[in-house]
Amino acid sequence: MIENARSLNIAASFILIAGIAYILGPLYLTLSTASQSYEFILRNGLAWLPGDQLFSNMARVFAETHIPIQMLNSLAVAFGDALATCILSFLSAYAIVYFRVRWAGAAFALILATIMLPIEIRVITTYQVASNVFSPLNALLDVTGLNELIAAYFGAPVKLEWSVLNTHLGLIAPLVAHGTGTFLFRQFFLTLPKDLFKAARMDGAGPIRFLLDILLPLSRPSFAALFVLTFLSGWTQYLWPLVAASTSDMQTAVVGLARLVPDAEGEVPDFPMIMAATIIVSIIPLAMIALLQRYLVQGLVLTEK
């Protein structure tokens, strides 16, 4: 366009530079500190300038901490969370949008409500459930009096027990119980031409074929965007894995990382090693962002209706 947008472009450049600096500042500090020695930190606190200890600090992370192994847990949790979220959200959004069922609105509302209350608020009781996933069922049987009947007939009431604590399943499942994915897919489905659905029906495709042959291939960008977002949030989860995993070989890297900051007052945290570990722990998600960044914008364009 022929117009003098120079003032705006200059301002925009400055804003972006400031934004980038704001983002990179803490990351730079992480890097510079990670490349100093513990002794340096003891004397100076964190470092403004990089040193030469980066690799030895990283080597210590590998040698002295569980973080490399815990990264496998993180990978399992983030991947499992992302995959399960993508698949389950996809399926439920599919049921809500493409089936004539009276409860679709209610189901969607029930799913969407989960967006409002993060796991941090309900962590205590969630832990209770995770420690025995049958506890709600047991309680239900008790309250309804069914258990008395059962006890009368079979001699003992039903008391099922299954703890998912300290398992990958238990780390993942409560994270998946979340509505964002369903919301995203629903929005996306609503933007698809309706005739596509009708055409497939005319072609004789039933619900499963339509799902597999038409909807799934078309949802790839949304799938990718949701996958990346969920993967990242799964990877960076803190409170739930902290609580739900009790052994260090089940814990995720972020929890392991936080654990490097000692609880007792007796010590100055080994910040160089912690920062080196931070870098190691962030490598996978950062690589993921760098690779899949374009899908993020692409897959999130939620053109309303």
Binding site: R43, G45, L165, S246, D263, G266, E267
Partner: protein, 414 residues
């Protein structure tokens, strides 16, 4: 049997615990212990609570001093002395016993990583400022602090104002109660009294000294951490747990000279014992005989003098049985830095005691510690006077006590 032990420590201590566990597993074939770090005492306890409700709790769990009453009334643990009647429990030093024993004199938990409050100085810096004698009273500390300040030292004395340090240990060694009913030993109907004792004056002093620039809080230091500030030489004196000795010694190596002694008194007050800190190990209910056997074996193992000595030398935590003191004496290393805290720590805990200095047996005490910190920090920041802060803390603390009383209505105090 295969058994589990949950603990809360991290860092150096965690390493030492894991070493002990491996040693135990290597030493015999009958049992196998898995020692699980939970990241902190709090998380460890909360998980134990949930795990107990779900009936998949460990046999052994370590917990810190502040939670003693909560566990005693929980009906989730068995007194160790009942499970292990044959152990020579008398060999545990009185200071450690008092904190964890029932009214009937039976130990409820086996003291494990025991600590107590000590006083640390950077002798090099003190001498630079012309202080040749290591101070032992608050009056001397303040005098030294003024000298340090005059000589340009920015941070003469440092503390974090932690409840354990500024209230519990202070009150105990000055023979002051924190709460009525002998700090709760006599019943759940106790109420807080610290806002009326000399402790209130001491806390007000801290506020004034901080204003004067003689005392710094953790957040006033460059490192944002008072231990780090002391270790880095930024601050010249601090009050801290014996558990921090190893780290300080390591940091000072080759740069500064470190002294460690008993925590300071006010002149005119008779010295009483300091309380045992750190944590102890409980046996949880609901396990079969084989598992209890394993637990017993482990408890016996960590009680062994050589194990305690190794733990002490690795962490700075204090040994708690008299036979270990003998062993240390025999080892010929008694005066080396390795065991520097052992003698002074035990000595401090063994000072004369009164019914008010046995320990703390108050409900929801962990939460009270936070309340106390919150209120006093406001006073340090100038948001309210120290007296108002303490009155507030008492009020909120009493509410906790009343709720605890209500929660455990009808439960007998051991």
């Amino acid at each position: 049997a295969n058994i589990e032990f949950w603990y809360g420590n991290t860092g150096v201590v965690e390493t030492a615990i894991q070493a002990q566990c491996s040693a135990f597993n290597a030493a015999q074939t009958e049992h196998h212990i898995t020692c699980v770090g939970q990241g902190s005492y709090e998380v460890s306890m909360q998980k134990a609570i949930a795990a107990f409700r779900a009936k998949n709790h460990p046999v052994l769990i370590q917990f810190f001093d502040a939670g003693t009453l909560d566990l005693m009334l929980s009906d989730a643990v068995v007194p160790v002395q009942e499970v292990l009647p044959d152990v020579k429990w008398e060999s545990y030093i009185a200071g450690a016993r008092a904190y964890y024993e029932t009214s009937g004199g039976k130990l409820f938990a086996q003291p494990y990583n025991a600590s107590t409050l000590l006083f640390y100085t950077n002798k090099t810096e003190l001498q630079k400022a012309g202080v040749t004698e290591t101070p032992t009273t608050w009056e001397e500390i303040i005098e030294a602090a003024r000298k340090l300040k005059a000589s340009g030292h920015a941070c003469p004395f440092v503390t974090d104002g932690d409840t354990w340090r500024v209230l519990e240990q202070f009150s105990a060694r000055h023979g002051l109660p924190i709460a009525s009913r002998h700090n709760g030993y006599d019943g759940l109907d106790a109420g807080y009294v610290f806002n009326t004792t000399f402790a209130a004056k001491h806390l007000q002093n801290l506020v004034d000294w901080r204003k004067e620039g003689l005392v710094r809080l953790a957040s006033d230091t460059k490192a944002g951490n008072f231990t780090a500030a002391f270790n880095a030489g930024e601050c010249a004196m601090m009050e801290n747990s014996s558990g921090s000795y190893t780290a300080s010694a390591k940091a000072f190596e080759g740069k500064y000279e470190l002294t460690v002694g008993m925590a300071p008194m006010y002149k005119g007050y008779e010295r009483h014992n300091t309380l045992v800190g750190g944590a102890s190990i409980y046996i949880m209910k609901g396990h079969d005989k084989a598992e209890i056997e394993g637990a017993k074996a482990f408890l016996d193992f960590v009680r062994r003098p050589e194990q305690q000595m190794a733990f002490t030398s690795a962490t700075g935590y204090v040994p708690v049985t008299s036979d270990v003191m003998d062993a240390i004496a025999k080892s010929g290393e008694a005066n080396t830095p390795k065991y520097a805290t052992a003698a002074v720590g035990i000595g401090s805990m063994n000072e004369p005691r009164t019914p008010d200095t046995r320990g703390i047996r108050l409900g929801f005490y962990v939460q009270f510690r936070q309340v106390f910190m919150e209120e006093t920090q406001k006073a340090f920041a100038g948001g309210q006077t120290m007296q108002a802060a303490l009155d507030n803390a008492k009020k909120r603390g009493d509410e906790l006590l009343r709720r605890f009383e209500q929660t455990y209505k009808g439960v007998k105090l051991h």
